[in-house]
Amino acid sequence: MLSFVFRRLAVAIPTLLILVILSFVLMYSAPGGPFNSERPLPPEVLANIEAKYGLDQPFWKQIVNYVIGVVTQFDFGPSFQYKDRSVNDVIAQGFPVTLTYGFWSFVVAVSVGVSLGVAAAIKQNTWLDYLAVGVSIGAQVLPNFVMAPILLLVFTLWLGWLPGGGWEGGQWNYLIMPVIALSTSYMASIARITRSSMLEVLNTNFIRTARAKGLPMRRVIWRHAMKPAILPVLSYLGPAFVGMITGSVIIDVFFSTGGIGQFFVNSAFNRDYSVIMGITILVGALTILFNLLVDILYAWIDPKIRY
């Protein structure tokens, strides 16, 4: 097991390096640049700026300097767009926000999604099943960019219960709408996966045996059916968790949360190279990390899996 973890971590380093190089090349091949604007800067002004940010260096040297800065000092450089901030500042400010609403969205999506899925599977073809399936299909087809403005309309404008946006350090009333908007479609997917995998497990021989022994249904479900039924859900949860905590531009745009998703998308439009790279590396590293965690959890839950 330990050697598996080390092997995976060893592979992660070249993976990240390839990610960095690919992103660098793609970024630089996009038209425009961080200091292009409708009013082109006078050449001497542009020269000063490029010298300040090292953009006057040859391409390979920029990559090398960048990687050295990141590896040796964990320094992702200054933001080209937000001149009062460095990339580390941007991430330090935006990531905790995203992490907070992403984490709570994950908790809501998993708890509600799994419960709905299990309930639907146990009571298959009853009104409860239809309701659960109906809710999850509804949640799935309602994209968050439709949901967000509807939530705003209802809870902020009509009812006046919740603030329409902002973060204020993550107070609960600022969290509710972002969490609902972000969690619903994940919740729907989790409910559907749980339901179908639970149904499959409930029809297997070992469950039939357990029930024939006279074990109560509750014990059968929680003790015996849950573990195998949760495996397909787990493989979905790894990427889903990364997706939630690394930000949703929709949430940031509609609720002005100031999370990392908005910085990421803006940086692409502004050609803010250093912010693009910083967030790409962050998301890449988290994806690798959580895929690894899921694999470890797999082995822990399913004794058949050995690395």
Partner: protein
């Protein structure tokens, strides 16, 4: 000099008016208007994106400039009509040759930490703004002000200390220009010329703009700054005119989506937000006291590609003129945009100071006549139903630009049988394509840098870096060059606009309006200030 007299007169009016006002009391009244003031003196407004910087030396966008004007104070401020009023400077005198300006500063201006604001602070700030070390994208402004050695300092050829600005003593600032500039005094209301506190900047580096570090000299101090979420500023007790400041707290909220912002405005969460395209008629009917449209110093136009490599049909001025005639501007402003914009037949915005819109023949024709003339011109050029003209039209991705492009392509189709292919491009890609001449017809929008017609018309200069049409006309160049030193340049501007109408390098489409919702209790907004330079210290809330 007249300006000096005017400034002194304004100052004394100010002092007389400000006696006996009490703001702490909920029943206080406004010293000039006598309106009852609200006890809650806060103002919350929406912007669409975070500003690149709020450092006066680096500030480059209008939202950032709004913040900088509250936090810092330059030599002069503007009043509600855009006239100069004293800031840190009380008055100035220009030498007879117009090359030396001497500003007299007030002796009671203070930084938020209690230090006096001196002429030396301005010298430091201006040298810093021009220095290659700061590498400000707005350093060219120092050059634009024609300050002696400005260009050489920016280019790094000489030390910033050689810049033509000197502190004669603490309250006397001397500026030497490389050429006379009639509107020099107007230029010192821009953030780039505002003072910064040297000790603070040197101690904290780029972190000096954080709320815990910043020392500023404006009517407000920075108390909270969370990028992409909000920025809060509160009244500065050290400000020399603090007793006449009414608003206590000003909050800028970053809300990207215009419709979300409108929802939050209607829920009472903010006092000012932009009206999304097309919603002005409904909102002005429902909230007549809140929806306001005022002219905004920008012109919307389409440009033709006149490079040799561009399609041959567009090299024919008759074809271009036909396409311009066939655009029904009234439909665009009334039905597509519906926000109080004005149809444009000249490039210069109609509300530009000192500019009188010349009589362009097209402007007084009916659309039916224009269409008839357009058909005739196009037929004369050899295009018609048998030989239809086809054009590629490119614009940057935006719902409103798309709506305008669709409407115009339909007008061309119906009136002239022209086949238009529409293409939208992401902003940076669009700028590159347009700059490289990779288009037939492209969208353009130009906003005034200063309130004078040359800010628009200089784009028509053959060598202008912003002339993406690559329109070349030696006569236009001559007229514009002459206008720079002329006492009455209007005649030259008329001629240039006539050339634009005749040669049609561009199709002026409409003149922008700025359409906002303002809370009913918010007063003092400078609607009449064409540049929309507002100062929170001049705003106040009346009791409901």
């Amino acid at each position: 000099m007249t300006l000096k007299t005017k400034l002194l007169a304004t100052t004394s009016a100010f002092l007389i008016a400000s006696t006996g006002a009490l703001y702490a009391d909920g029943h206080a009244t406004h010293p000039e208007t006598g309106e009852t003031l609200a006890s809650d003196q806060t103002f919350t407004y929406r912007v669409g994106d975070e500003s690149p910087s709020i450092d006066p030396g680096l500030v480059e966008d209008t939202d950032g400039a709004d913040v900088v004007r509250d936090l810092f104070e330059g030599l002069y401020n503007q009043d509600a009509e855009g006239n100069l009023v004293p800031g840190v400077a009380l008055s100035h005198e220009a030498s007879d040759d117009g090359l030396v300006y001497t500003f007299t500063l007030r002796d009671n201006a203070k930084w938020s930490n209690g230090d006096p604001v001196t002429a030396g602070d301005f010298v430091y700030a201006w040298q810093r703004a021009a220095s290659p070390e700061l590498a400000s994208p707005y350093s060219w402004y120092v050059e634009l002000m024609s300050i002696e050695n400005g260009a050489a300092v920016i280019a790094g050829d000489i030390d910033p200390s050689e810049l033509g600005v000197t502190a004669v003593d603490d309250t006397t600032l001397e500026v030497r220009l490389s050429q006379p500039l009639p509107y020099f005094a107007q230029m010192v209301t821009h953030g780039t010329t505002f003072p910064v506190h040297q000790a603070t900047v040197e101690e904290y580096g780029s972190d000096w703009v954080l709320p815990e570090n910043m020392v500023s000299n404006g009517a407000y101090v920075l108390t909270e700054f969370v990028p992409q979420e909000k920025l809060v500023r509160e009244r500065n007790p050290m400000y020399w005119d603090n007793e006449n400041t009414i608003l206590d707290t000003v909050t800028k909220l970053v809300v990207l989506d215009e419709n979300v912002a409108l929802t939050r405005y209607l829920a009472g969460e903010m006092d000012r937000t932009i009206v999304p395209a097309g919603q002005f008629p409904r909102l002005s009917e429902e909230f007549p006291d809140q929806a306001v449209s005022v002219p905004r110093a920008c012109s919307y136009y389409y440009m033709f590609n006149l490079r040799d490599a561009a399609p041959e049909e567009l090299q024919n001025a008759d074809v271009r003129k036909a396409l311009s005639l066939a655009v029904d501007r009234d439909i665009i402003v009334e039905n597509v945009l519906a926000g109080g914009q004005e149809p444009a037949y000249t490039f210069t915005h109609w509300a530009t100071a000192g500019f009188e819109t010349p009589d362009i023949p097209m402007a007084s024709m009916t659309q039916a006549d224009r269409n008839a003339m357009a058909q005739e011109l196009l037929a004369g050029a050899g295009y018609g139903p048998d030989n239809p003209l086809s054009i590629d039209l490119v614009y940057n991705t935006n719902e409103s630009h798309k709506a305008v492009a669709i409407a115009i392509s339909q007008m061309w189709k119906q009136t002239l049988g022209v086949e238009t292919t529409l293409a939208n491009q992401e902003w940076q890609t669009f700028l590159e394509a347009r700059g490289n001449g990779d288009f037939d017809v492209a969208r353009g929008g130009w906003c005034a840098d200063y309130n004078e017609a040359s800010t628009f018309l200089d784009l028509m200069q053959s060598e202008s870096g912003y002339n993406d049409s690559k329109y070349v006309n030696a006569e236009v160049d001559g007229l514009l060059a002459e206008a720079k030193t002329s006492d009455n340049p209007q005649a030259n501007y008329d001629r240039v606009e006539e050339f634009i109408a005749q040669d049609t390098p561009i199709i002026p489409i409409y003149h922008y309006a700025s359409v906002y919702m303002y809370a009913e209790t918010l007063e003092g907004w400078p609607y009449e200030n064409f540049e929309q330079n507002w100062y929170s210290k001049d705003l106040y809330r009346i009791a409901e």
